[in-house]
């Protein structure tokens, strides 16, 4: 990021220099997530304890909030936490300071996509993008198309593992080979572009 990062004294060390931080990052995220209360976080850790997925996260939600506030943009955007968030809103419900943590996670996802710094080869952002593109293209989701494109982008071999499940779903007419578009795509696109 900054020239100072390559300083021989700090390279590869966990020392964080102020020059490497994005001082406005916290405010950007707070604005995007309607999260003025973000700065009122008292770091109690209730969100991390309430989160059903925090055990698989590299940074717990508590730490993500602390890093956002302090301007650790690089670390926050390139970590898996925001992509693992299942949007269950348990953290937001339990937060004693009323911080909309799930909204913060959404804001971070958007920020990561815009900055193209989300973790490479991590399925969640790939699925998110594919899903969005499909909706944009046809107005609806066709599971077979969605999954095929997703696995082509992510890892085609993983798709084979789901072949028998796919067959069963197909036999029960849960998967369709035909795309069902929507009637007024023009209006829909206009809506998306708003």
């Amino acid at each position: 990021m900054n020239a100072s990062s390559s300083d021989i004294l700090t390279q590869g060390l966990t020392v964080k220099l102020e020059a490497d931080l994005d001082k406005n990052f916290g405010e950007t995220i707070a604005r995007e997530a309607h999260g003025e209360k973000l700065f009122g976080c008292i770091q109690c850790g209730n969100c991390s304890a309430a989160c059903p997925l925090s055990v698989w996260m590299d940074y717990t939600p508590r730490k993500v909030i602390a890093m956002v506030r302090a301007g650790f943009k690089q670390e926050v955007l390139s970590n898996r936490t925001v992509w693992l968030c299942a949007s269950c809103y348990q953290c937001t419900v339990e937060c004693p300071k009323g911080i909309k943590i799930t909204d913060v996670m959404y804001a971070l996802k958007r920020e990561a996509i815009e900055n193209k710094v989300y973790p490479k080869n991590f399925p969640v952002p790939i699925l998110a993008r594919t899903f969005f593109n499909e909706v944009k293209r046809t107005g609806r989701i066709n599971e077979i198309f969605l999954l095929t494109i997703y696995y082509l982008r992510y890892n085609i071999f993983k798709m084979l593992g789901y072949a028998s499940l796919g067959m069963k779903l197909f036999m029960k007419r849960r998967l369709s080979l035909f795309e069902k578009g929507m009637s007024d795509k023009k209006e829909f696109k206009a809506m998306l572009n708003q």
Binding site: S4, T14, K16, I42, A66, F72
Partner: protein, 661 residues
């Protein structure tokens, strides 16, 4: 076993619920006691301290014609008075009562019921063989002088003085500095309400000065204290101001006329951030409004060759260069110590660079910097007159540290938040707070922290390891770099700032030990004055009639100090209004016929209760001062000293009872 035929002992053993009965076989102790000589009656009961328990003693005393009472139960500290009163109610002298502690000394400390019971029996036997030799004694009543001495004119002393004087009592307020007001007078705003400190303090200061019931003795120190509760004689030394206090009206014409055209001596009130002249007043609202001369810097005192332009400028002839320290004697009944604290010396934490880097400040210095009446008129600038763009506030400097002071100073988190707010307001700088734990326990305190979080102040949880000027990139050049682990993020951070503020802690005043000796009270391990009980007697000391309030007892903020001052004032007033004090009769007395006049006892007495009667050539013990420690009794080579309740016969028969079944 020694026997006194006249003694008729009533013995009671208490179950104390399960406290005693679970580990001591109380019925067997009661049966055993019944067979001991002189014992007329022996009972066990669930709660002796309850009303029915006491009633039982009353009834039994009448029916069985008892004249001695022994109760085996808890600690005398807890219930000796209860049972003494019951004994007195039963028409028996209260000193014919003896208490046996079989709870703390037997049931609570043992695990073998059989052995605990044997021990309880031994203790009971000792008490019964002692009580038969007790003598009837009376408590002495001594009148209480209604005047009060208050030492220390900070916010605690001021509040206590006004409380007591408003109750119509005479108060002497002794302050060692030239003005009252203490540390609070230096503060800009107070947390969490951000009231202006001067606006709420100075009316109280002038109320003290104007109050007809308060005699203010500024620039004075207590040199010696003699006497006892209700009747203290105090010697106060008044330091020379070289100004006649009554004549000075505070026009400051002398300060303008001083031979030093420029002020050039460090101003203590502004923490050395500005200069003053040798003739000065600490601050404009100083109370009393009387100037003083610093004889260490005044040319007249250093060389004697000053034209004394200050004295010539005074149209009231208030100058007196020949003033000497004067000792004044006061008679008071109670004493309140409100002697306060001292801030931790930041130079003792060298890793933060105080004294080495000019832009490292203590919190008190910053209090002056943000103060509108401070050295820069409230304009926050560094020593090179530039405005800081980033400021780091380091918490816990000299607190929570084995190498300096172990305790939490209680006020630093809150005042650091306050300073963060004020600095943000004054400079709009980036502010970083480095804290170990954020401690905001008080009314409105957590809300204040919340407010600061949302004001955009940065909070980094981690103790700062060092402050240095060693830059490793362009960004850090010319700045002070703070190195700390951000423990909540899990990374070590280097943060370059323009200004570092050290939130120094509270520690006992440097003269606390001297004060302790003068007033004969104790200090706790840290050096703060020791209260009689940490929960139930927080403003009393082990010396009757001497009370403590404010930060001299331990770190405290303003509301707590004021509350404690009120509590201490109430305790003093209660003592005064009761009119007299009752003294325990366990004092020592001297048989003048046996006393050889060697005076060994005089030097040993820790309470200065013994004086030497030159005419009779014998020592004399002042009963009112004697605390009954027994030191003199043991030391007397002639066996001339006897102590009530601890006479030889009583002690020997107690030991006999303990050892011989």
């Amino acid at each position: 076993m020694p026997i006194n035929d006249e003694a008729r002992v009533g013995f009671y053993i208490c179950h104390c619920g399960h406290n005693i009965a679970n580990m001591v076989d109380v019925t067997s102790v009661a049966e055993y006691a019944a067979k001991l000589p002189n014992v007329v009656l022996s009972r066990d009961y669930k709660y002796m301290c309850s009303d029915p328990g006491q009633e039982m003693i009353l009834k039994d005393a009448e029916v069985f014609k008892l004249n001695r009472i022994v109760v085996a139960s808890c600690s005398p500290l807890l219930h000796e008075n209860t049972f003494r009163n019951a004994t007195a109610k039963a028409g028996i002298n209260q000193f014919y009562f003896q208490m046996v502690n079989i709870r703390e000394n037997a049931s609570w400390v043992h695990e073998d019921k059989e052995l605990a019971t044997v021990k309880a029996k031994d203790l009971v036997r000792a008490a019964i063989s002692r009580v038969v030799f007790h003598k009837a004694l009376e408590k002495k009543k001594v009148p209480v002088n209604p005047d009060v001495l208050i030492v220390g004119g900070g916010i605690s002393g001021i509040s206590a003085a006004l409380n007591i004087a408003n109750a119509g009592k005479k108060v002497y307020l002794v302050e060692k500095d030239p003005t009252i007001g203490g540390y609070m007078a230096k503060f800009d705003k107070t947390f969490p309400t951000l009231d202006c400190a001067a606006c709420i303090l100075t009316p109280k200061m002038s109320a003290v000065l104007k109050h007809p019931g308060i005699t203010l003795m500024s620039y004075s120190e207590v040199a010696a204290v003699e006497g006892y509760v209700g009747n203290y004689q105090v010697k106060v030394t008044r330091k020379p101001r070289y100004i006649i206090e009554e004549k000075c009206v505070g026009c400051f014409a002398c300060i303008d006329a001083c031979i030093f055209k420029e002020a050039k001596f460090s101003d203590e009130f502004n923490e050395g951030l500005s200069k003053r002249k040798p003739v000065y007043i600490p601050f404009p609202q100083a109370t009393p409004q009387v100037v003083l001369i610093d004889d260490k810097t005044c040319i007249h005192f250093k060389t004697g060759k000053c034209p004394q332009s200050c004295a010539k400028a005074c149209d009231r002839n208030a100058f007196d260069f020949d003033q000497k320290p004067v000792t004044q004697e006061l008679e008071v009944g109670t004493i309140l110590l409100c002697t306060g604290f001292q801030p931790f010396d930041a130079a003792r934490a060298p890793y933060y660079g105080y004294g080495r880097y000019p832009n490292v400040y203590t919190s008190l210095e910053v209090e002056r910097l943000v103060n509108a009446s401070g050295p820069t008129g409230g304009n926050v600038v560094l020593r090179d007159k530039t405005r800081p763009k980033s400021i780091g506030i380091i918490h816990c400097v000299g607190s929570r540290d084995e190498k300096t002071n172990k305790w939490c100073s209680r006020v630093c988190c809150m005042y650091s938040l306050k300073l963060a707010h004020l600095l943000k307001e004054h400079t709009d700088a980036e502010i970083y707070n480095f804290y170990i734990d954020m401690r905001t326990p008080g009314k409105g305190y957590e809300e204040f922290y919340d407010k600061l979080l949302n004001e955009g102040v940065h909070f980094i949880r981690g103790r700062v390891a060092e402050v240095s000027d060693w830059a490793i990139n362009e960004h850090e050049k010319g700045k002070l770099v703070i190195r700390a682990e951000d423990t909540l993020i899990g990374m070590v951070r280097r943060i370059p700032v323009d200004m570092v503020v050290l939130a120094v802690g509270i520690e006992p005043g440097k003269d606390a030990q001297d004060i302790r000796r003068v007033f004969n009270i104790s200090c706790s391990n840290e050096g703060f004055f020791l209260e009689r009980h940490p929960k139930l007697a927080p403003v009393e000391t082990f010396t009757d009639g001497i009370f403590i309030a404010g930060a001299c007892q331990g770190p405290k903020d303003i509301p707590d100090s004021v509350a404690q001052a009120g509590a201490a004032a109430a305790q003093a007033l209660a003592l005064i209004d009761s009119g007299f004090v009752e003294l325990e009769p366990n004092t020592a007395f001297i048989n003048e016929e046996l006393c050889c006049g060697c005076q060994v006892c005089i030097n040993l007495c820790p309470y200065h209760a013994i004086t030497f009667d030159e005419t009779k050539s014998v020592s004399h013990i002042n009963e009112a001062i004697c605390k009954g420690c027994g030191t003199c009794v043991a030391a007397c080579g002639s066996g001339a000293i006897t102590q009530n309740l601890f006479e030889d016969q009583q002690i020997l028969s107690e030991i006999y009872g303990l050892l011989v079944e």
